[in-house]
């Protein structure tokens, strides 16, 4: 489902030099897996996720996600990929203020995703009774559920999660992790990057990102 070969990504360090974050990293994730990538802060976890999810195309190497080879795709094609093939969940939820929960879930439909069911997605995360709440009227855990419902809206093949429990307390975090497990049980491929043990414990496979390479933990 996810296949990355020889990934290399470096940033300029602002002093004329280059900071290499990923250095020929390889990754293979089969369909239906729940994989966690661990690593200390600054090791490049988010960078890896952005490349796999089509948010960053300034890398070297080859990436294939759900049968889509990302190398050389146009901005429009990459956008369509993000819109329909994958879903993102972020640490700080990133809901759009001014849109209620239901509208936030349906956000992908503004950019082309069709056939999604925002109400069903909201139901799946157990929040159908708060569909018309504004993000500011929801708790952190509820916001993250709305964000997950949004990621599920277009029925993606892969869910990418970046520190999904980073802003949540223990109990709420556990509920979110349980949600990922049950989504995975339904067949969704989930790749979560985190430095939290509680996330990696739920994963069926754990990788470590060290010195720009992915190694089994």
């Amino acid at each position: 489902m996810i296949s990355a070969r020889g990934l290399r990504r470096s940033f300029s360090d602002g002093e004329g030099g280059a900071l290499t974050v990923l250095d020929s990293a390889d990754l293979e994730v089969a369909a239906g897996e729940l994989v966690a990538v661990m690593g200390r802060s600054g090791s490049g976890k988010s960078t890896l996720l952005h490349i796999l999810g089509g948010l960053d195309s300034q890398y070297q190497g080859d990436v294939n996600v759900a049968g889509v080879s990302l190398r050389g795709l146009s901005d429009t094609a990459l956008s369509r990929f993000r819109n329909g093939t994958v879903g993102f969940v972020f640490q700080s939820f990133h809901l759009v203020p001014g849109l209620n929960a239901l509208e936030n879930v349906a956000l992908p439909s503004f950019f082309g995703a069709s056939g999604g069911d925002a109400r069903a997605a909201l139901e799946r995360v157990g929040l159908s009774h708060k569909a018309s709440r504004q993000p500011s009227q929801l708790s952190g855990g509820e916001r993250q559920r709305v964000a997950i419902a949004r990621a599920l809206y277009a029925r993606p093949k892969v869910l990418f999660c970046d520190e999904p429990t980073g802003n949540l307390d223990a109990a709420t975090g556990a509920e979110i992790i349980a949600l990922f497990e049950s989504l995975n049980a339904e067949g969704l491929t989930v790749l979560a990057v985190t430095h939290e043990e509680r996330v990696s414990r739920a994963a069926k496979r754990v990788l470590r990102l060290e010195s720009g390479k992915l190694v089994p933990a």
Binding site: D75, T76, S92, L107, F110, G112, A113
Partner: protein, 426 residues
């Protein structure tokens, strides 16, 4: 992105920053209001100049004899019946009208009732005879032709003369204002071949009664327009030239044929009287220049409005960087993001343009009302100083949109350039 989705996102961002949106709309509306106002004023005054001050018929060509002696050597110069026939036969001429000055001086001595006022005055009179067809649409009573013995001679005055009389002459002298229909029927005595100021011919003095029968744009400005046959008869009686014409008015088959016609006339050794046309053009140019300058100033305001919108949108894009980033993450392309910013600008511009056009129209009505009630009567004072063709408000809205889109150029680039990976991490 569909149009409906775009509209909903625009609505969302406008609703979230109503104050910012209002400020942008305000800027555009002031610029467009000024522009529409001044253009309407320019068009309005231009129309007054064209229709009231110099009511030129663009299809008419005034042919006059050439004073150059060379013309007479070539057989041209003067306009006799033969020349008239040739003029009438020129290509593109649909009608031709002769004019003959009464070639002796004339005076009118009036002592009697003048529309309820007692009038006692002596006046030098200029008279021109014309082919009746030229003024037939403006004759309000009787036949415009040389009358039988003892009958009054029909006479037409220039509409502009009536206007000047009504608005400057009459008020200063306590005389009543007159409309063409009110004045029609008024009779006064005229003695031809008589003058208070110049020597006259040895011939006899011909006394006649003239009767006003209407006012016409085609009447001569400084005098009376009478039937051609009357002028011929008077000239003959006074022993002066009654065979050549003072001028011929040619009606062209459309304004576009006029230049060609003028060329033909000049080839015949005759002149075209372009005095009125030149005055009209000069006045028109003056109006165009002034209102053009004001319109340019308004364009400058529109430019400032565009800069204002650019600032507002830039700030808004910076504030919304995360939000735009999340849109990118869920499938918005760079083009979608750019379209969104442009759409926001277009809506602000359209609203601003519409408000501005409405303001301008309201202001023009207000000013007209004020002018009507507060400005004194003056010659050619129009009912309205403005002319607002339907395209003008539409163009105002269009320009508002255009200015806003121009202002959105850089902010939309910035927005499209947002790196979602950077704004969303952490």
């Amino acid at each position: 992105m569909t149009f409906g989705a775009l509209l909903r996102l625009v609505k969302l961002s406008v609703r979230r920053d109503v104050r910012g949106a209002l400020s942008s709309v305000f800027g555009v509306s002031i610029g467009i209001a000024a522009l529409v106002f001044f253009v309407a004023l320019g068009l309005g005054i231009g129309r007054v100049v064209r229709e009231k001050v110099f009511p030129l018929d663009a299809q008419l060509v005034e042919v006059v004899p050439s004073q150059i002696t060379l013309g007479s050597i070539l057989g041209g110069g003067k306009i006799d019946q033969d020349t008239f026939e040739r003029l009438r036969a020129l290509p593109g001429v649909t009608a031709a009208y002769r004019k003959m000055n009464v070639r002796v001086p004339a005076v009118s001595r009036y002592d009697g009732d003048f529309f309820g006022t007692r009038l006692h005055m002596g006046l030098e009179v200029l008279a021109v005879g014309v082919d009746p067809e030229l003024v037939k649409n403006d004759v309000l009573m009787g036949d415009f032709k040389d009358p039988a013995e003892g009958q009054p001679v029909p006479a037409i005055v220039a509409s502009r003369l009536v206007d000047i009389y009504n608005n400057s002459f009459a008020p200063n002298r306590g005389l009543p204002r007159l409309s063409a229909s009110l004045a029609a029927g008024f009779q006064f005595p005229v003695e031809f071949n008589r003058s208070f100021v110049v020597a006259t011919r040895p011939g006899p003095v011909t006394a006649a009664t003239l009767q006003l029968v209407g006012a016409s744009d085609r009447g001569i400005l400084a005098g009376l327009t009478i039937p051609l046959d009357t002028a011929v008869r008077l000239n003959k009686a006074s022993g002066v030239d009654f065979e050549t014409f003072s001028g011929v008015t040619l009606q062209a088959d459309g304004p576009s044929r006029v230049p060609e016609l003028v060329a033909h006339v000049k080839e015949m050794g005759l002149k075209v009287d372009e005095q009125e046309r030149r005055w009209a053009e000069n006045a028109g140019a003056a109006v165009l220049l002034t209102t053009g300058a004001l319109a340019l100033l308004s364009l400058l305001i529109c430019l400032l409005a565009a800069v204002n919108i650019a600032h507002a949108l830039s700030a808004s894009v910076r504030v919304r960087a995360k939000e735009l980033g999340i849109m990118r993450a869920v499938g918005a392309s760079k083009r979608d993001v750019r379209a969104l910013i442009f759409a926001e600008a277009a809506v602000l511009g359209a609203v601003g343009g519409a408000v501005g056009a409405a303001l301008a129209i309201a202001a023009s009505y207000g000013l007209d009302a004020l002018a009507l009630s507060h400005l004194p009567q003056f010659p050619f004072k129009p009912d309205t100083f403005f002319f607002i063709p339907p395209w003008l408000p539409l163009a105002g809205v269009g320009l508002g949109v255009l200015a806003s889109l121009a202002g959105a150029w850089w902010p939309s680039r910035d927005a499209a350039g947002i790196d979602p990976a950077r704004t969303l991490a952490g």
